[in-house]
Symmetry: C2
Subunit: 224 residues, 2 copies
DNA sequence: CTGTGTCTCAAACGTATGTTTCAAACAGAC
DNA sequence: GTCTGTTTGAAACATACGTTTGAGACACAG
């Protein structure tokens, strides 16, 4: 058989359309028309729309989780028994993402947006799929975070991790639009790497904020 | 005329269903069935599904923006010429949201999730509607942020505001699911107020992070 | 009571969706 | 060339959607 590229064309089109419009808002006909492929090909090759969504994630996430595993291995080896710091852990993740071989210049940006959508759109099947398939690197990252922030209570750490996730997913998912705005307003060019370089210190500082303030106060001094 | 409560019943049901499932994933038939109202009533009273979405936002956002304006007025008056601090500004926003009169016990939680969805779901009409109707309090908040972080360059501040926005929108948009997970994993109940109380210090610390690190380093000392 | 405008109701309309069907085209094995 | 399993193609399927329709119910003013 010709080992056709139909599957990849569908995945490429689906990835981009899902990132642009969300899952429910993207129809199979949009995908097959963008991919210049027959409508029935999706159900033939993937079985269902949900399975296609899973395949889009798997195509990126499977090699990425391998890259991430080895980055964590390197990190722990260098630290020689000591737990890696928060900055080191965050950078290991960031570098693994940025260094992934990319199909196009958007690459990581598209996928970050997809990950954000996976969390915000209530696609139960997707969350279940991701948890089942990629629990290992996720758990490992969580454990590294825990060891890097022993001063935090479990609840504090849980929420701050969600905050980090949100800042990252949101920013990366709309990084193209945000870069354009910055270009127009301040005349500054920005790369994804530079965004990451600004994001990591923000996250690290937030993660290590001194105390959880439970009441507002107007008599406080400026924090910094 | 009987001054029917159909309109409010529709708004209540729509608000809750939108928050649970997103906009595209919620059909008018779900809404009218939950509201125990005839299907045609939606188009009769609101004109279209999009107009209903706008009405759901307007019902909360119009009184909220008034509350916010007066909170900012109070804040600036107390500060007597000095620019309010970052913490004060963030708390003014948070408290205005939390103190809004609420229709039910969920209240602010539901609406936070809606606001998050408004950012993450690419509903062009919604974003346009919100920008047109509520640009003033938004601009004012941005100016307060600028005055509260004079040490930041315009570019740094721009990105860090995006990070804050992301952490907030993302967390709030999935706060129900996140609360459930926390409940199951650690057996902890959480209110939106508590989430906000954890979020604000995280944001303030990130906003005031000392330096933007441009390269990863393995020889660094732990930050805190 | 009659008339009028407001509102509800069941039913239908047109369109779009995900999925299925089945014949045709194709590639490689023999 | 012929056969066999794989892939494509155009069309149809059943279902769900947002929206519209027109008749009826209701409250109230005259």
């Amino acid at each position: 058989m010709a080992q056709s590229d139909t599957v990849d064309r569908i995945l490429d089109a689906a990835e981009e359309l899902f990132a642009d419009r969300g899952f429910s808002e993207t129809s199979l006909r949009m995908i097959t028309s963008k991919a210049k492929v027959n409508l029935a090909a999706v159900n033939y090759h993937f079985g269902s729309k949900n399975a296609l969504i899973h395949a889009v994630f798997a195509r990126f996430l499977t090699p990425f989780s391998a890259t991430l595993e080895s980055a964590f291995n390197d990190l722990e080896q260098r630290c020689d028994g000591h737990p890696p710091t928060l900055n080191q852990t965050l950078w290991a993740l960031t570098e693994s993402a940025v260094r992934m071989p990319q199909r196009n210049e958007q690459g990581i940006s598209i996928f970050m947006r997809l990950l954000g959508l996976a969390y915000t759109q209530s696609q139960g099947h997707l969350r279940k799929f991701l948890e089942q398939e990629y629990s290992q690197p996720f758990s490992r990252f969580m454990r590294l975070l825990k060891d890097a922030t022993p001063q935090l209570s479990a609840v504090d750490r849980y929420w701050r991790i969600q905050f980090m996730l949100g800042a990252t997913a949101f920013t990366m998912s709309s990084s193209d639009a945000l870069r354009d705005i910055l270009q127009n307003k301040l005349g500054v060019e920005t790369t994804v790497q530079e965004i990451a370089a600004r994001l990591v210190p923000f996250l690290a500082a937030g993660m290590q904020a001194q105390d959880t303030m439970l009441m507002p106060s107007f008599s406080e001094a400026p924090v910094a």
